[in-house]
Amino acid sequence: MAHFEIDHAGPLITIQDKGRTGFMRFGVTPSGPMDRVAYLAAHHALGADLGAAIEISMGGLSISCQEGQVSACITGGDFKITLDGEILPSWSIFTLRQGSRLQVQAGKWGSWCYLVFAGKMIVPTWLDSASTHVGSDLCGTPLSVGNIITVEDCYLPNLMAGQVFDPKLFKPQSQIRIVLGPQDHFFTSQSVQDLQNKKFILTKDFNRQGVRLNGPKLKIIHALDMPSEPVGRGSLQVPGHGDPICLLADHQTTGGYPKIATVISADQDKLSQMRSGDKIFFKVVSVEAAIVAAKIAHEVEHSFYHIIKDSQKSLEEKLWNSNLVSGIVSDINS
């Protein structure tokens, strides 16, 4: 068993696991990681069963080990990791021992990273998930200074400490693919054109629920009275102010604002990893193209997990594999 005390915690640092699927009909948002690929990558790197991770925001986290020892992995974005004063590369495996102090701070890019222990974090669960839903407090609240984290069944996997993958591959590009609808016909044709041709910027209104984008104002043709309907992750809903809000992991399950488009699943986590001030160009694709993109993304992620699973491979081999994956990724993005 290992115990950690939180010495510093920025806002919106929460426990997340796979999320709570299947309860949207009761108003329960799925939650789960903002960047699902990074969350899974840390587990694969450690060879750990899928479980609870600490999702760290740009506000940063600092913990000290009170007792015990356990290996851990941090993935997601390009965050600055400092262990006992020594700077580690992002996307690293390391071991924490009694007295160790781990600091995670915003780095070159990325809004969220994941701290996964080689063991089982003791956390409350609700509806078969440990994911914190910020707002309802139904399963924990964001972490704060003084909280104690307990990890059971700790192990020190027989792995090389160090970087498991070069995160450059995952740096989000400004192009984000969308499918128009379901209410694009409520908007002026100029607005539908602007959405595809003009630049949008992520604003500071950015949390686990969604991010407000700023660009040309999107106008509806006439005032409408639309009954609330279910909304999914990636929806671009447009309230009266005309700025689209992209709904993210903790989105409400229903909404009464018209939705001009939806970000395809393959690009949702990339958008989540962007920062306030980053620019986006939307590219409209068909439903069929969105489905093909989901299948390709699944294949690429699968081979990627396979590569990082075996961290014992020689550096040369890992580089070769990472080039292979980059090749596939640049193929699909071109």
């Binding site: 699927t21 609330s228 229903t254």
Partner: protein
């Protein structure tokens, strides 16, 4: 010409089957029928359905089911439910919910009475004599949207939401009423407090109401209410 139902894709994650564009019990009955038909069909690759006022959301896994196949299956089910007289299978519950409307628990009742030009008693009588239907869940876990609010006590929501509205608040806005389950901001008018929280986190089935259930509010005095809540 009836253009409904219409199937509208939502990127590669789901689709909406729209049965209309208004809040109407006959439209809602078709949604419940379709929801039940889909539950019975249990199509491989369908993750979940979410009934709402005028549409049914269907979430699916594009890696498991081909979109065109899903749409075909849905069209078959739609034509089946349209052939039959719509009859909702299974038990729909009727709930009687104790509500205390006394001033301690109804911070917005006086202002609402002013705005509607009614007495507070008239609002309470009207609110507690109607039979409500659970149309859908939304906004926050366990927030059941109840249709059937009498027209004379309908009012748009407040222009600015109030932070920290407590659980078990009984609220009204537009054509709806609602009992809150967790502390959340809300722009609805709080006119009473329920003796029961319809979300019980500890239960295996934590949500008290099913979509399609009916509800009546029973006014109780504060003294009875306290006894009820404690007992």
């Amino acid at each position: 010409m009836n253009i409904y139902p219409q199937i509208k894709p939502i990127a590669d994650i789901g689709l909406l089957i729209e049965f209309g564009q208004s809040i109407d019990i006959s439209i809602h009955a078709q949604i419940l029928a379709m929801d039940q038909a889909m539950q019975a069909a249990s199509i491989l690759g369908v993750i979940e359905m979410i009934p709402s006022y005028a549409s049914l959301y269907v979430g699916y896994d594009p890696l498991t089911i081909i979109y065109e196949d899903l749409v075909l299956s849905l069209e078959v089910l739609i034509s089946e439910i349209q052939k039959k007289q719509i009859k909702i299978q299974g038990e729909k519950n009727h709930w009687r919910i104790p509500v205390c409307y006394e001033s301690k628990f109804s911070p917005d009742l006086e202002e609402l009475a002013d705005k509607l030009d009614l007495s507070t008693d008239a609002i309470v009588t009207s609110h507690s004599s109607a039979i409500y239907t659970v149309y859908m869940y939304g906004f926050a876990p366990g927030y059941a949207y109840l249709g059937g609010l009498p027209s004379k006590i309908q009012i748009p929501r407040k222009s600015i939401p109030i932070m920290g509205v407590k659980p078990k608040s009984v609220m009204v806005a537009g054509q709806q009423s609602l009992i809150t389950t967790v502390t959340m901001p809300s722009g609805w008018w709080v006119i009473g407090k329920s003796g029961i929280n319809p979300l019980n986190k500890g239960l295996e089935q934590p949500f008290m109401f099913g979509v399609g259930d009916t509800i009546k509010f029973e006014p109780v005095k504060e003294c009875e209410f306290v006894r009820f809540v404690q007992g």
